[in-house]
């Protein structure tokens, strides 16, 4: 009888441990999915500055999730901005808060809630600084750290 009780205990302990591990893993995945499903961003317009030194992209947070441009812990930005230029050049730009060339910077235009937090309904103005902006068709893709992306095709004269 004692052997049976010990065997049942060992089996149950192992089974419960696996069950808890499975539960935690699934909860983690579900929480990430929840954040991703409730995130949505939309590019609403693009233009270039009169001096033709930067491309301006306006992106709207059309989801329920808020984003911070700068990761507070790592003190870095994990957002990715890719562009295809008219000459088919594919480029990835780095975020630099005081950007001057070959990088991008951004500011929230209608920051209504927590300052510095890109919340629902707010619009982000992204300035992509680049040496040359030839006339033609462009493609832009913005990717956030949680995997949400938005892209758009546009042309500049």
């Amino acid at each position: 009888m004692i052997v049976t009780v010990i065997a049942a205990s060992i089996f149950s302990a192992a089974a419960l441990q696996q069950l808890y591990a499975f539960q935690n893993a699934f909860k983690d995945v579900s929480s990430r999915n929840e954040e991703m499903f409730s995130s949505s961003i939309t590019i609403i317009a693009e233009t270039k500055t009169p001096s033709a030194s930067s491309i301006i992209i306006w992106v709207k947070n059309t989801g329920r999730t808020s984003f911070r441009l700068q990761d507070a812990t790592a003190n870095a930005t994990f957002w990715d901005l890719f562009m295809i230029f008219p000459n088919e050049t594919y480029r990835r730009f780095n975020y630099v808060s005081a950007c001057s060339d070959d990088c991008w910077s951004a500011q929230i235009l209608n920051d209504r809630g927590t300052i510095g937090l890109w919340e629902e309904g707010e619009t982000l103005e992204i300035s992509v600084h680049t040496a040359s902006i030839p006339a033609g068709s462009y493609e832009v893709r913005l990717a956030l750290p949680n995997g949400v992306t938005c892209d758009d095709k546009f042309s500049l004269g």
């Binding site: 009888m1 009780v5 699934f26 499903f37 409730s38 301006i56 329920r64 209608n110 629902e120 309904g121």
Partner: protein, 176 residues
């Protein structure tokens, strides 16, 4: 017999933990899908149309009427979440440029938009007098910075975007 009871109790506990896990996971998944479908539905059910754009005689302002053609009301607190994007040729510089306009801006050096206080806004306002309900029209004023003016006889373009991301655009003539 005691061992049997103990074994069954452990099995029941395992079943409970498993059921509880599944319940929690289902709840999270359901919330995710609900959030995703609610965002998509809000976007699908919201629509607007720019009815008309009139350039002021001094060519420093635009008077715009926009109708809510969707099935979703825009709460008055969310007007600041709307985007007004204006493209025009500026008279002093001759440059055609696109600008994002600030809502209720007091800074006269930048492009701004506000509700036209000369009219009941939104109109008609039978229900939710402050909110922009479906089929109601908003009258907006878009003001250029003090140093800017629409160049005569040129074409401009106006785009208005709702907080959910739906948008509408309209070209206009600055007149002679």
């Amino acid at each position: 017999m005691i061992a049997g009871v103990f074994f069954v109790a452990i099995l029941l506990l395992s079943c409970y933990v498993y059921a509880d896990s599944m319940n929690r996971i289902s709840a999270i998944s359901w919330r995710s899908l609900e959030a995703a479908s609610s965002i998509s539905l809000d976007k699908l059910r919201s629509a607007l149309s720019i009815r008309n754009v009139v350039v002021a005689a001094n060519r420093t302002k635009l008077y715009v009427n926009v109708t809510n053609d969707g099935a979703v009301k825009v709460d008055h607190a969310d007007f600041a979440g709307m985007d007004v994007i204006l493209t025009y040729t500026d008279e002093p510089t001759g440059l055609t440029q696109t600008y994002w306009c600030y809502y209720n801006s007091v800074d006269s050096s930048r492009h701004g938009w506000s509700l036209n206080s000369s009219f009941t806004n939104p109109y008609p306002s039978i229900v939710n007098p402050l909110d922009w309900d479906p089929s109601e029209t908003l009258s907006l004023i878009i003001e250029l910075p003090v140093s800017n003016q629409f160049e005569n006889d040129t074409v401009g373009y106006l785009r208005v975007v709702l907080p959910e991301g739906s948008s509408n655009g309209l070209s206009f003539l600055t007149g002679t």
